[in-house]
């Protein structure tokens, strides 16, 4: 007998410590998708995605753009009648997807997420001048110029620090993160 956990079990396990109730309690009412402000850009609605996870449709879920488009507004969480932490489910799927190195081509989400985590692990804080250029060319040259103009403005007003900030005891912090996220290979790289 195959004792490896199914995709559904893996996702459930990864969500074990979240605030919400397990996704097995979803009644497929669609409150989340009805509420979602960015649902029109998603190829599957959040409710649909929960159904797909419960059906163990791993490849279809990992090929979906839904969770990369989640804006983390947490409106679905507030309204969910089953108290499922849907926004956190989206984060879980992002982590899983990066962990398995399996996500749709051409999405800025995975690149952004990976850059962000690496940057946090290297300095302990977010630093926009490094974060932005890493994925900004996805919008083409015009997009880059627009962003650069905004960034310069912010820099002049003192809204963006000139030098990357660093926190104390970075090693402890990295070890801590390594315990939490399965993408621990990133921790190694960052060192």
């Amino acid at each position: 007998m195959d004792t490896r956990p199914t995709f559904y079990q893996e996702i459930t396990n990864m969500m074990y410590a979240t605030h919400g109730d397990p996704i097995s309690t979803c009644i497929q009412c669609g409150t989340c998708s009805g509420t979602c402000p960015v649902v029109e850009f998603m190829d599957h609605t959040p409710r649909d995605l929960i159904g797909m996870i419960r059906a163990d449709l791993k490849d279809e879920v990992l090929a979906s753009n839904t969770y990369w488009y989640c804006a983390s507004c947490f409106h679905c969480n507030v309204r969910c009648p089953a108290h499922i932490d849907i926004a956190d489910l989206m984060y879980t799927l992002k982590r899983y997807s990066i962990w398995k190195n399996q996500y749709p081509e051409g999405l800025i989400g995975p690149t952004f997420a990976e850059t962000f985590v690496k940057m946090i692990l290297s300095g302990g804080r977010s630093y926009e001048p490094v974060l932005a250029p890493a994925y900004i060319f996805n919008y083409g040259l015009q997009g880059f110029l627009n962003e650069a103009l905004t960034a310069t403005g912010l820099l002049l007003k003192g809204r963006i620090p000139v030098l990357p900030p660093r926190i104390k005891r970075l090693d402890n912090f990295r070890r801590m993160v390594g315990h939490i996220i399965p993408a621990s290979n990133l921790v190694g790289e960052a060192k």
């Binding site: 669609g30 989340c32 009805g34 509420t35 649909d48 009648p81 089953a82």
Partner: protein
């Protein structure tokens, strides 16, 4: 002292035997001191199991019996009767719960066996100290109190009154009839609600065996099954009911108009002196002192001037009446979920969002619009109507339970809207639940004939903020149509929220008043959810209708009648035997400190001034044990719970050596 104890261990099929090694257990029990025989059997509660015990009592001369099986809650009475049949006093029997407290709570066979041994050892030690007791026989007062004059209470009252017993029907509002009187049609057959209800109201109002106490509330309940004393506060109507003929002139002449938030659900007006609706029973009006011009400003008295019989009595005060009853039926009903708690549905903010009771009044031919379904502006007929199911129900943010009536109610609304306006109707549902007789037929009928669009999805929000063309001036319902997996925005003119049922806001206090329990949702708790749905854990107090949990009219009527049947059965017996578990004071040890006197929740303890000691009235005592614990001299003993019994049981439990085990992971 040599008692002969028989120990019987039940397999309960695989319920116990699947976890506990019953053979080893019965072998071990056979070796205990004083145990004459120990046996295990598949089902002790079966007639064969009981015969086994009876045979042993007679043939082996057992003087004590211990059964290790389920909870005493379930089968203590069964085995007590079994002992009685074999000639053994039923109180010389003891039960050890090795199902609820052992096999159902662990899968670990080692600890299960150890704990079973401990419980049996405790029971054996205790049973030796048990004393033979005789039940206390008391008379039953044939009068009955029914609290709540909705359809459930009316049904119960009529059944009991027809059986020839006297009923006091207490209702908080000015008229009986309850929520059903507010409805226009009733599902699934669309009977006119008033047509089927008012004859029953009239019967209840005129029945010689029914004393109607409307505009009244129960204040105090004392006593026990068969002998309750009830105090009821009759709020001042400011109308002398002996003179009033119910002509309605006072109501006509009253110049003060008030929004009726109770009967008309805020949709219509009433006067300051009023009967809630023309068919009200009793016909006597009540005066709303908060809004009466005379009471607020000191002038007016129009009602008094015009009353042809001089029945208006501004000086009338609340009256507290007291009477004795033998049994009580609670049928206190429900409150509607307050839709304001879900701000995204816009109720109370967007004018044309209605709750279900408001729509009932809107569609009622006797309602404020004469049955015309129109928007709040009072003229516009809606072209499209959205009906939202499960509002406040099946939602952990509000009420987690299903309110049971909303699906059918929403289908009824869909039909009524279509019939009265021809509007396009949308039903937004999560699941359609039509489980009772002819209910699904009604659903099929709506599907076939009414052109109602069914959208499967819980509505995310109702808004008046137009975003797309065609949405201006409309209410937009934003929802995921889960069957196509797409978010939709559906513009409509009117939204009806099918709000759920909630326990009465004061259900907890009422439960306390009558000495019964409330569930976590605050519905009254029945004795057994399946097999004893109208009795409660308090003898002589019954529950019926929605106060016990959400249900529709047919089920409420059924429960009302069921509770009445239970009461009639009890009253017919004329006497009831009470458990002889009672406290008694040892006069020689009593110092007369009177600490116990105020502790007793049943007022059963009185102080004998001449003897200088306290005394307990065994008929009032319920054996709760409060005084036993309170007595500083240890002068009070609770029979069947004596110190000797409890201490020896603890000793017995501790005698069994429990093995070391790992800490249970949190």
């Amino acid at each position: 002292m040599s008692e002969k104890v028989g120990v019987y261990i039940c397999h309960c099929g695989a319920n116990i035997a699947g976890v506990v090694d019953v053979a080893a257990l019965s072998h071990w029990a056979g070796e205990l001191p004083d145990v004459a025989v120990a046996r295990d059997y598949k089902f002790m509660c079966s007639s064969l199991g009981q015969e086994l015990i009876e045979k042993d009592i007679q043939e082996l001369g057992l003087t004590r019996v211990v059964v290790a099986a389920c909870s005493p809650h379930l089968h203590e009475a069964t085995f007590r009767n079994c002992c009685k049949r074999a000639g053994l006093n039923p109180y010389l029997f003891e039960m050890a719960s090795i199902r609820e407290q052992v096999s159902w709570v662990t899968a670990n066979k080692t600890v299960a066996l150890e704990k079973s041994k401990a419980l049996i050892s405790g029971a054996v030690h205790r049973v030796i100290h048990n004393q033979a007791l005789e039940p206390i026989i008391v008379d039953i007062n044939p009068n009955v109190l029914v609290v709540g004059g909705g359809i459930t209470g009316i049904q119960a009252a009529l059944e009991i009154a027809d059986a020839g017993y006297h009923v006091y029907l207490v209702e908080r509002e000015p008229s009986i009839g309850g929520h059903m009187a507010q409805f226009d049609k009733t599902f699934p057959t669309l009977d006119c609600s008033a047509c089927i209800l008012t004859p029953k109201m009239f019967s209840a109002g005129t029945h010689p065996n029914i004393t109607l106490l409307t505009w009244s509330e129960v204040e105090k309940v004392d006593g026990y099954v068969g002998n309750f004393t009830v105090k009821v506060r009759q709020k001042a109507r400011k109308v002398n009911t002996e003179l009033c003929t119910g002509c309605g002139i006072c109501e006509q002449k009253c110049p003060k108009k008030v929004i009726d938030t109770v009967f008309e659900a805020g949709m219509g007006l009433r006067k300051a002196v009023y009967t809630p609706f023309p068919q009200a029973v009793p016909k006597y009006p009540v005066m709303d002192v908060q809004n009466c011009t005379f009471f607020q400003k000191g002038t007016c008295k129009a009602c008094e001037k015009f009353c042809p019989t001089g029945a208006i009595d501004f000086k009338q005060e609340d009256k507290v009446v007291s009477f004795d009853v033998g049994n009580i039926i609670l049928a206190t009903g429900w409150d509607l979920f307050d839709c304001r708690r879900i701000p995204q549905y816009g109720y109370g903010r967007l004018a044309n969002v209605y709750n279900s009771l408001e729509f009932e009044r809107l569609s009622n031919a006797a309602g404020p619009t004469g049955g015309k379904v129109i928007l709040r502006d009072g003229v516009t007929v809606p072209q499209s109507v959205g009906i939202i199911h499960c509002v406040g129900s099946r939602d952990k943010n509000y009420n987690p339970y299903c309110s049971a009536i909303c699906c059918m109610q929403s289908l009824k609304f869909a039909h009524l809207v279509k019939e009265k306006t021809g509007a396009q109707v949308y039903n937004f549902y999560i699941d359609i639940r039509t489980p009772l007789k002819a209910y699904d037929e009604f659903y099929q009928h709506i599907l076939e004939t009414d052109e109602t669009r069914f959208v499967r999805g819980k509505v995310a929000e109702v808004t008046d903020a137009a975003r797309l063309p065609g949405e201006e001036g409309k209410l937009i319902i934003q929802v995921e149509d889960t069957l196509i997996g797409k978010q939709r925005r559906i513009p409509v003119d009117m939204v009806i929220l099918s709000a759920g049922l909630e326990p009465r806001h004061d259900a907890k206090e009422v439960a306390k008043l009558f000495g019964i329990g409330c569930s976590a949702d605050q519905w009254f708790i029945e004795r057994h959810p399946k097999l004893d749905p109208v009795a409660t854990m308090t003898e002589g107090v019954f529950v019926a209708g929605v106060c016990q949990g959400p249900k529709d009219i047919p089920l409420s009527v059924t429960q009302g009648a069921a509770a009445a049947a239970r009461v009639i059965g009890l009253v017919n017996r004329k006497q009831v035997s009470l458990e002889p578990v009672r406290a008694s004071v040892n006069a020689e040890q009593c110092s007369g400190c009177r600490i116990c006197n105020n502790q007793c929740p049943f007022n059963a303890i009185s102080f004998l001034v001449d003897k200088g000691v306290s005394e307990i009235n065994p008929a009032l005592c319920q054996g709760c044990g409060t005084c036993v614990a309170a007595c500083p001299a240890g002068a009070i003993t609770g029979s069947h719970y004596t110190n000797a019994q409890i201490l020896s049981q603890i000793e017995g439990i501790l005698e069994v050596e429990l093995g070391q085990r790992e800490a249970v992971p949190a």
